[in-house]
Symmetry: C2
Subunit: 337 residues, 2 copies
């Protein structure tokens, strides 16, 4: 049971043009209602802010998920506590993750909810290394990228939620790892704290030159979160038989012009290389494999995680934009209360 | 021995801008010289005109072969007859194929020369279905594209040397085949003569609409020779797990602007699709596998070939340009004499 009577929610009311603005949403409270049979009521405590959400705000039907309809609560992955349940599978006090949206409370029929144990790890970690970004990094790198010991692995968006994990998992598998990120602080974080072999600051370094110097034999695996000029530069530096793991293109999501395609894509031909997409939902049946591996590495001190927690759901539009300006440091999470 | 004393040659003297012009070459005769030990002299009879040659004329070092140096005989795959030999592996009267260039006679140390038997097939066929385009089609489709029976296979440049073979090999393997080509004649050729299930005229049809209608379940395998708008359109119509075989991008080779990259490449992510390049040289060790399969299908009437033979080496620049204007019908070959 909860004593709250109101539920504050961000509803999408306008398709953003470029960066998200506060006026693209309403932020109002609606009254909580009585729970129906088969339902649970979850108090949302943490809201995961992920680049993919920007795509969900667009009209396009050409994505892997339908767009958020105008008037609907903004879709987001969340972690929270069951405060009331008329569902046999959940009891008040359970902790869960799921697509419950940018709101304080959510009703659910239990579909898509995953119970998590907050004694094992802080709740935000289930939105990061032990959640969707963790699965994306683990299966994208190992299943699609297939790095071998001694390979040169490059990851873009390397200080982000997925990228930081990718680089560390690649190191654990014996690869040489080069991160691409924006700014001296991130470069330092990657090389000094996470153990990357090298990092390139795309904002100040000559990327093409740096890549040639750091990867003279070419790039065996490129895990791309960014797209645009970074993808084109790495394409010109592939090793024979390279694998490019397409995870995202954050440089393009706020674009108001047409998407910039990789002009150098014929290097895939010259280098007999492969470009393949990774979609985390395909790996949900194997989630436990990733979570136990990641959990073990975290416990052993081999994998470091960093959550960037911003408190106050009301800051949602501004905080979300940090993903695109690069102001986030680690997995960006909104703490509701 | 030959009684000829002169060798007419096309030498590249200027990097073409856009379409090739006659003034990009010199066309002069040089005297034949005495044969040295270990050499053969080949009378070039047929010169294969292939889109890749346009790339070899550019300065860029980012290709799979070095550019043709200014002043050098233009590189080309040819078929011809050994007219003199001081090489133990070849005798006068042998027929060979190899990279002998746009010239009437060529000296060779035998490296890269392949003996062919003109009793088995007309010589130009060894530059087409039984040569490089045949290997490209066979291994690109079967090894990289991996079509299954019932798959929908789309091929661009479908009336070209490689495309026409790809579509027919896919049919032999039980796929549904849709060709993309320019003009009503080519569409008719593909559907009425080669047995394609359907063909789209990119010059007059609404490609996106036609693809949606003809491939309502999406495209399982796309063999791309063209790039540009055609690649972007097919990317929007992929089936789950689709394979894109990158073979070329003829729409872009004469470009004087930057290469147009596929703006819709993130569909690879949405559809868990793969884009991979095929480079025929990788398959030379397995050439006999393709040639015997293709030869068998030709003999059985399952595979039709068409060579577009233009007589007169002196027409080289103009004839070469037919590849890019789409004026060729089938494998374009220049007959020297």
């Amino acid at each position: 049971m909860t004593t709250a009577t109101n539920n504050r929610q961000f509803r999408l009311v306008r398709r953003p043009q470029g960066a998200v603005q506060a006026a693209d949403f309403t932020f109002d409270a609606e009254a909580l209602r009585a729970l129906q049979d088969g339902e649970v009521l979850v108090q949302v405590q943490y809201i995961s802010l992920d680049p993919a959400m920007r795509g969900w705000m667009n009209e396009s039907k050409e994505s892997y998920m339908p767009p958020v309809a105008l008037g609907d609560v903004m879709r987001a992955i969340t972690a929270g506590k069951v405060v009331d349940s008329k569902h046999p599978g959940f009891a008040a006090g359970d902790y869960v993750t799921g697509l419950l949206g940018v709101q304080e409370y959510a009703y659910s029929n239990g579909q898509g909810l995953t119970k998590v144990n907050p004694a094992l790890a802080p709740l935000p970690l289930f939105l990061g290394a032990l959640g969707m970004p963790g699965l994306t990094a683990y299966f994208g790198l190992l299943d699609v990228g297939q790095p071998k010991a001694g390979d040169t692995v490059v990851v873009s968006g390397a200080a982000g939620a997925v990228g930081a994990l990718v680089g560390q998992i690649a190191k654990i598998h014996g690869a040489r790892v080069i991160g691409i990120a924006g700014g001296a602080d991130k470069v330092r974080y990657l090389t000094e704290e996470l153990g990357f072999d090298a990092a390139i600051d795309y904002k100040s370094d000559d990327m093409a030159q740096a890549l040639k110097t750091l990867a003279p034999q070419g790039v065996d695996v490129f895990f791309d979160n960014v797209g645009g000029a970074i993808l084109d530069t790495v394409l010109m530096n592939l090793a024979h038989g390279a694998r490019i793991v397409l995870c995202g293109a954050i440089s393009q999501y706020n674009n108001q012009q047409a998407m910039q395609g990789p002009a150098n894509y014929l290097q895939l031909l010259v280098k007999r290389a492969t470009m393949r997409g990774v979609m985390v939902a395909d790996y949900y049946p194997r989630a436990m494999e990733a979570i136990s591996a990641m959990g073990g590495w975290i416990a052993a001190g081999q994998l470091k995680t960093r959550e960037h927690v911003v408190t106050g759901m009301e800051t949602f539009p501004d905080t979300f934009n940090k993903l695109f300006t690069g102001e986030n440091n680690g997995k960006l999470v909104l703490k509701v209360a």
